[in-house]
């Protein structure tokens, strides 16, 4: 596979191409998911549907017929609520919050989410091999016919009253700070940094 020619992709090309020979690639499409600004779970749900092949009318449960899924911009995935600090990934007596995990390896977040949404059967490992996730915006599969996946429009629910009041308070505070602290505060800060530098 001469995808090294199309590599404006600085990353592990070997890892990205790993295990491709094991998959029977005839007739499978390559779908690209852009994770920028998408909510984690909702994106993972769509990916898992595509990976299982459930959007094809030729779906057969004992045979893995899902499309290859490429996910880009994995580091720009969003979560709602306090999950950035409160969602915890547990290992054996070890825990890691979402924030730390994103700092360490953002692709693992999406991979775990999708993997845990797939049915736990013998096809799960094969389906894992079909999923390729990249933290940045480039992928080395540019020479193949890739098709972008359009996410369904999202219905965002109205903010809860308490959250809305908090938001309004935060906005007002920001406005006040901008108006009030324009001259005095910034002047002081500049003096301090000048002293430190000199």
């Amino acid at each position: 596979m001469a995808s090294q020619a199309a590599s404006s992709f600085n990353g592990n090309v070997k890892k990205a191409l790993a295990g491709l020979r094991r998959i029977n690639l005839e007739g499978l499409r390559w779908r690209v998911f852009d994770a920028k600004g998408q909510v984690l779970g909702r994106l993972a749900s769509q990916i898992s549907t595509v990976i299982q092949g459930k959007d094809k009318p030729t779906y057969t449960p004992n045979r893995d017929d899902g499309d290859m899924c490429v996910v880009i911009n994995a580091k720009d995935i969003c979560v709602t609520g306090r999950k950035l600090t409160d969602k915890v990934y547990t290992g054996h007596l070890k825990e890691r919050t979402l924030k730390d995990q994103m700092a360490k390896d953002p692709t693992e977040v999406i991979r775990k989410a999708v993997l845990r949404m797939l049915p736990r059967n013998k096809l799960r490992a094969e389906r894992d091999r079909k999923l390729r996730i990249f933290a940045g915006g480039e992928h080395p599969f540019g020479d193949r016919p890739v098709e972008p996946y359009e996410m369904p429009p999202r219905q965002v629910r109205e903010m809860r009253p308490r959250a809305r009041r908090a938001l309004i308070r935060a906005q007002k505070k920001a406005e006040q700070q901008q108006q009030g602290g324009n001259d005095a505060k910034k002047g002081k800060k500049r003096e301090q940094t000048a002293e430190v530098a000199a």
């Binding site: 007739g27 959007d55 009318p57």
Partner: protein, 125 residues
């Protein structure tokens, strides 16, 4: 000879269950119980599989399964699930015609599912 019958039915079993009569008899009995149960389960499983296939086929045309069937029932089209799933697999154009009929019959159908992505129709095996 009952033993002979049992060993005939125990072909392909694992380990001693195909060779030793005491074990084979138990396993064959169990196999026959499963077979009885699964003759009834098979009908359910096949129906479920047809529904999944029809769902996939209709979602490609931005209609979901429930609304599609509602539209067909309204138009009194009495095609059964097996035939519908076969159509969705092997006759994409006829299936599209059916989806259009259903969409016109039941007006809740416009843009139920998000509009289809601009991809080719999946290759049917």
């Amino acid at each position: 000879m009952k033993k002979k019958k049992v060993f005939n039915l125990a072909k392909g079993f694992r380990g001693r269950a195909k060779n030793c009569i005491r074990i084979a008899r138990e396993r064959v009995e169990k196999a026959q119980q499963y077979s009885y149960r699964d003759r009834r389960n098979k009908k359910r499983d096949m129906q479920s599989l047809w529904i999944q296939r029809i769902n996939a086929g209709t979602r490609f045309h931005s209609v979901n399964y429930g609304n599609f069937m509602h539209g067909l029932m309204k138009e009194n089209i009495q095609l059964n699930w097996k035939v519908l799933s076969e159509l969705s697999m092997h006759e994409p154009l006829s299936f599209k015609a059916l989806v259009d009929i259903s969409r016109n019959a039941f007006l809740g159908n416009k843009n139920v599912v998000h509009p289809p992505r601009k991809v080719s129709i999946p290759v049917s095996v």
